[in-house]
Amino acid sequence: MGVGLPRLVGARVARREDPRLLTGQGSFVDDHRPARMLYAAFLRSPHAHARIRRIDASAALALPGVAAVLTGDDIARSAKPVRAASKTPNVKTTSYPPLALGKVRHAGEAVAMVAAESRYVAEDAIERIVVEYEPLPVVRDVESALDPASPVLHDEAETNLLVSREFARGDVDAAVAGAALVVRERFRFHRHTPVCMENRGCLAEYATGSGALTLRSSAQCPGLVRDILTDLLDMPEHLIRVIATDVGGGFGAKASLYPEEIATCVMARRLGRPVKWIGDRREDLLATTHAWDEIIDAELGLNQDGTIVGLRAEVIADVGGYSIYPWTAAIEPVQTISFLPGPYRVPTYRGRARGVATCKAPLGPYRGVGRPPAVFVIEGLMDRAARRLGLDPAEIRFRNFIRDEDFPYKSPSGIVWDRSSFTESLQKAREALDYKAARDEQARARAAGRWVGIGLASYVELTGIGSAIPVSPGMPVSTGTEAATIRFDPAGKVTAVFGVASHGQGLETTLAQIVADEVGVPIEDVRVVHGDTDASPYGTGTYASRSLVLAGGAAILAGRSVREKMLVIAGHLLEADPADVTLAAGRYAVRGMPDRSVTVRQIARAAYSGAKHLPKGLEPGLEATRFYDPYYGTASNATHAAMVEVDRATLEVKTLRYVVVEDCGRMVNPLIVDGQVHGGVAQGIGAALLEEIVYDDQGQLLSGTLMDYVVPSACEIPMMEVHHVETPSPVTLGGFRGMGEGGTIGAPAAIANAVADALAPLSIEVAELPVTPERLFRLTRKAGA
């Protein structure tokens, strides 16, 4: 370690990526415009379910400036349809063609693609394409989709039930039957969508001479996209390069492969010209993956003292029209039943999950995946039980938390929790909130006729998942490893290359902190390269709160390898035994003799200066590539505490205070950890109070603008108080735990519980999110308020 240099891991280091982003010098997809580039636009289906009888593009092709039009049939001749295969028996594999083939399954599905000299001309051309549709009955929701009389969206599946899965432990039926108290509820977590501020887009260039394809894409997972394009386009992997330098937010929305990426590659390969597609906001709301959308029937059985005896749940997710690659339609509902038992000792459990196809945009990963609904449910049940038993909501949690002596604890769904800080996080959250004072304040507000409430939510999530478990159940690709290449140049500066990608997480800074510490250089001497499959060792990308754990672990391994070689070279230069050389104050010195030392630069120069500067037999060069597989992954936990007020006149919910106590193990950069929590909580508050994707009975999207899909502005988000418990993970290199998603996992439940607490005098429970003023109006009116 760079003793003497300020230790970087753990420090609030300002971000390395900021200067270029602050000055308008980012490198987003739309900032690129190679010579001879064409602009693409997609014609999208106005119908939710229809057969395509005929497409006539002649008028579009006749428009000056139009280079080509592609339809589903054209694409089918040059690219395979995407099939998100699953190894799980009860998950149906269905085809997702890049452009609709034969029929459309949701409003907004891409039907045809134009490439033209400008985006304006491309959109003119789109309007001139004539499509004859034969409308089919719309499968509008999960209940009707499961009706035997319902039309089936995918003939090959023979049913709309694409996913069914069950986790069970013990005799839950007997346990619940014998429970002193059973609380049950039908929970509804409505459809949401991530809304990255940068819409999705991509730019494909095909070099006809070499046969090489370069795709710039707003992708979180350049490696995953490269791998599947190899198969779909029948091209060797080394001729495909996927670049995602700057990406304007991801949140899971950009973790999947999208039809437009494939179609744009096909168009570029066909025309031998660069083709760029930049989606607009309407396309984003219509055709980027949606999220959560679940109905969860759950029952919790408890003893009189509030300890849990059993949990039963039936989860049904509306997975939309297609199963997305590579996560499959199983990702949301199966994650929900995986995490429903929460941080609690749940001796008996049965969680059943079903995923049902309907005529909506595909369901995909969004920050938290399955866990925002799961935590909403279990934390909602805990509060209901506490109210019935006359226990404080904190107390019932303390009585049920997995205790220190229980770790490692195997959850009823099979996940193993390593040592975590469930109890400590809640204790600390109570202190941070000054729980008693907050309750006193609430009592005073109540006495004055105000609706003020306090809500708690504790959760545990699995992060940094290694090769033992797929990130999504049964998914077709392995996501358990990442690699780092650390390379010194002869002047002693470091380039560190990673297969993960950064789209706001600040990995150019945190990974540089780790590398700099490992090899003993200042952070200014480390440049992190990511998001370019040609530059990086094999990797997939950034999702599932994995990048700091996996890429950070790989950075430690590669850093160690490089450092060992540096010690050997230093020993040679200092005429000392390498075992006596140590790294101190940024110099490699003979132990106990700080004057006998060489600089990093001297070592690096020697490494590239030929045999006479190196120990006999040592290979020249100074770089290492190492892979890291954390095998299982690691737990990450937090407690959120919210204090809200429901305005009695407008029924608007105002968040008065928001406290988070999180434990992401050893922190690399607290500035960035806090920022991730803030952003996650804001998305969770949006999900709980404002945001909702709404379709009508005909499958038409009613929330197709940002006026209708309400993303929180600064006015709806409070100042948050973030505190940390640092329990280094016992199972990851560096002790890191993933934390990119946590804010969004805890916030919906904390807000829902706070609103329910505010309305407890009216005996109102919050079982549906978002809890909008309209829903509160119905609830309060029903309660006679």
Binding site: G249, D674, G675, H678
Partner: protein
Amino acid sequence: MADMMTVRLKVNGVEHEGRCEPRKLLVDFIREDLGLTGTHVGCEHGICGACTILFNGEAARSCIMLAVQAEGAELATVEGLMRDGKLHPLQEAFREHHGLQCGFCTPGMLMTALDFLRTNPTPSEREIREGISAVLCRCTGYQGIVNAVRAAAPVLAAGR
């Protein structure tokens, strides 16, 4: 294709002249014709504010204006903030207070905050939140942005 029109304007103190269709959006003209890609397109319906620039000194959304409407105007974009290789104090504050993550809304957020601090040099937290509510950020939960604007306010006021 409609007749092309000439647009003459000043951006960040530099005179530009371009020819475009009358229907061309100002943001597309700035990005494509002038090559200033720092100004971003987020929604094209005037809600998200990513495209915000200063138009004759006032914050304006360049995605719901036509380029031809900017004939004779003076614009400022994010590219004009840095001086002599040094970040503007507002940019410095955003870096110090972690006021950006993915950086996509940042140019619009900076231009909006600049205009806001010009009209309200000593704002309260509530006023800052209202002032920047014209720009949506999905990454930061606004906390770093609010802190950055609050920290930059006295620095900018002193520089006037």
